[in-house]
């Protein structure tokens, strides 16, 4: 296990008032890439440009709309980049209690347990520190042209309440901004 991760886990475990975001981790690089499996696992701090460059060597691509290649994949995940969720296969996180947890994995189909890996897309770093994400990639040819769509901004009171209670599930001490 990476010392960076162990260190962060320890800090979160001992902290009550620590406010952190995934950014400070500076944790980047491609962990595993299996072109014939259409799977790549990357550390959350990896820039999308780096991921795209690695994939391009095998004529593959991330099959979602990328707004800014200089952004880290973790940021795109936290911001809920358009259709990114569709390609997510698994995620590794450190929750607000300092536990290292895995949801999903590297396989195409997986319906065991709730789909936390996709649920955390768009969570803005408020629920957990995302350390590593696995994606399904596709040959360039099948990705085609991706267009931008607008997101709705309307949010019901019920939705707000559910989201705030879900935050408490992952971050009971309220240490993530």
């Amino acid at each position: 296990m990476s010392t960076q991760i162990l260190k962060l886990q320890a800090e979160i475990k001992s902290s009550n008032g620590l406010h952190i975001t995934s950014n400070w981790l500076n944790y980047s690089g491609v962990q595993e890439y299996f072109p014939e499996e259409l799977v790549i696992t990357v550390k959350a701090g990896t820039s999308m440009a780096e991921i795209c460059a690695v994939l391009a060597k095998n004529d593959q691509a991330l099959p979602f709309y990328i707004e800014d290649e200089t952004q880290s994949i973790g940021a795109a995940y936290a911001n809920g980049a358009q259709d990114l969720s569709d390609s997510v296969l698994g995620v590794q996180i450190i929750d607000g209690s300092g536990e290292l947890l895995n949801f999903g994995g590297q396989v195409m189909k997986n319906v065991a347990g709730y789909d936390v890996a996709r649920m955390l897309v768009g969570s803005q770093g408020k629920l957990a520190v995302v350390t590593q994400i696995s994606f399904k990639v596709m040959p360039n040819y099948y990705v085609g042209k991706l267009k931008r769509r607008a997101k709705t901004t309307q949010r019901s009171a019920l939705r707000e309440e559910i989201e705030s209670r879900l935050k408490t599930v992952f971050d009971p001490k309220g240490i993530f901004n």
């Binding site: 499996e37 536990e99 195409m108 319906v111 789909d115 649920m119 969570s123």
Partner: protein, 476 residues
């Protein structure tokens, strides 16, 4: 007034079923070894009625097991002794179709194939095609995040749902859409097995029907060669519309049933469907045929009848195996594709160990395995041996970096196996997610996520001397 009387009192005749004869058909889903009669079965006709049912059940602290068409294979819709069954089959209308945006709004009881039929005249269809598609309902598909043979290229249910309207246990409406800002609650609802809310409306994405589809059937002398060809096709940059594999026993069973000309001498069979425009299919076909040059036999469909015939064998593999044995047990593990050949070998070894025959049918493109274990429930102990065999396969799947279920769900069937895939902290998060939506635990309680003490007891049984099972396997 007790819950049954209140339900009977509230609704017109025919909505609440209580008698022994009328509730018996609901005592199980597609996994018929698990049976339980509910207190009552409620078959509402409107969303308003569902809200009333939920309110009454909440007041009486009565669990609600939501049911679509009852074709699930994991006991997800099996009633509980103190529960009612909330059957949504009467909500079966396609409410609207937007051919331009390629969307349809449907009620949860609409059958999967009925969506494609309703939009066929626009040249559109609903892509996910579980084998039960003529019977299974779209509401159940969302609850299970169902797959099918065309997932690799066209995605699972979660990829083909644009929005859902759910009712919370309080009867409140919540609309979740792909374009929402915030947490991925729409994705969370897919595959939640009826534990978080009742899905009452679904907006599905529609896909343009391909101009042409052709199937390549390749027979192999060696199972490993067939398994490796799956990776080779994808390595060559081709994403087939379907990529399925069968072993010799499954070939024999399917051919005996469907008589479509499968090569009986082959040890393994690959079915590879290519679709798109004529030129796209031609280009892909050339690449695939080159990759498959080591096959012992090759056949390419030349027209729609031939294509459907080649699929007929695969699609009837389950009933075909059913003819060979009084009972069969279908597993649903997924593994990284590179372990396919290894997994098949291990299943063969286990088959010898447990003295039970296995027919293997795979969604090979997705690494999703459906080993069918043949058994006879009338022979004492054989079901237990079968379940033990199945559990070993699922544990192997997890140890290879895969999952215990790719598309059938956990239900009641795979609760023990869940303990192998997730640790206590992860399971605790799942339980807490449920209580965010359903604090009284009234929606399909006890399914999908095992209680921690269940895993602790199981762990005490399975971990010997701190040794992991299958230490030779690479872990992820």
């Amino acid at each position: 007034m007790n819950v049954i009387n209140e339900l009977l009192d509230k609704f017109p005749k025919g909505i609440v079923l209580t008698g022994e004869e009328s509730t018996r058909p609901f005592e199980c889903d597609g996994l018929s070894v698990y049976r339980q009669k509910p207190l009552a079965v409620v078959l509402p006709e409107t969303v308003e009625q569902i809200k009333q049912v939920l309110k009454i059940c909440k007041v009486h602290n009565t669990p609600v097991v939501t049911r679509g068409a009852g074709t699930g294979l994991a006991g997800g819709a099996m009633p509980l002794s103190e529960s009612i069954v909330l059957g949504l089959s009467k909500l079966n209308q396609v409410k609207s179709i937007d051919a331009e945006k390629q969307l349809a709004v449907v009620e949860p009881g609409v059958r999967n194939v009925a969506i494609s039929e309703a939009v066929a005249h626009y040249g559109l269809y609903y892509a996910p095609d579980p084998s039960s598609q003529i019977a299974c309902s779209i509401g159940g598909n969302v609850a299970e995040n169902s797959g099918g043979v065309h997932c690799l290229k066209y995605g699972l249910t979660v990829h083909n749902v644009e929005a859902v309207k759910i009712l919370t246990i309080d009867g409140e409406e919540l609309i979740l859409s792909r374009d929402d800002q915030g947490l991925g609650l729409l994705a969370l609802m897919n595959g939640s097995e009826g534990l978080l809310g009742v899905i009452v409306e679904i907006t599905v994405k529609l896909t343009q029907m391909p101009k042409l589809a052709r199937v390549v059937m390749a027979g192999f002398d060696k199972v490993a060669d067939c398994a490796n060809s799956v990776a080779d096709i994808i390595k060559a940059g081709i994403i087939p519309a379907g990529l399925e594999m069968m072993d010799s026993f499954a070939i024999e069973a399917a051919e005996g049933f469907a008589q479509v000309g499968y090569p009986l001498e082959a040890q393994a069979l690959l079915l590879c469907e290519l679709d798109g425009s004529e030129s796209e299919v031609q280009a892909e076909l050339e690449v695939v045929l080159k990759v498959l040059s080591g096959a012992s036999s090759i056949k390419v469909s030349n027209n729609e009848k031939e294509r459907l015939d080649l699929w007929k064998g695969r699609k009837s593999a389950f009933p075909a195996v059913g003819r060979l044995s009084p009972d069969y047990y279908c597993m649903d593990g997924t593994i990284p594709r590179r372990h396919l050949a290894d997994m098949l070998e291990k299943i063969n070894e286990l088959s010898k160990k447990y003295q039970l025959r296995v027919a293997n049918v795979f969604h090979a493109g997705d690494g999703n395995l459906h080993p069918l274990i043949l058994y006879d429930a009338n022979i004492p102990g054989e079901l237990e041996r079968t379940e033990e065999f199945g559990t070993e396969i699922l544990r192997l799947s997890v140890d290879m970096g895969g999952s215990i279920t790719g598309e059938h769900g956990v239900g009641v069937e795979k609760l023990d196996a869940m303990c192998h895939q997730f640790n206590a902290k992860e399971l605790e998060i799942f339980h807490q997610i449920k209580s965010v939506f359903d604090p009284q635990s009234l929606l399909n309680p006890g399914k999908a996520i095992p209680e921690l003490h269940r895993c602790a007891e199981l762990g005490a049984m399975h971990v010997h001397h701190g040794q992991l099972p299958h230490p030779e396997l690479e872990r992820f």
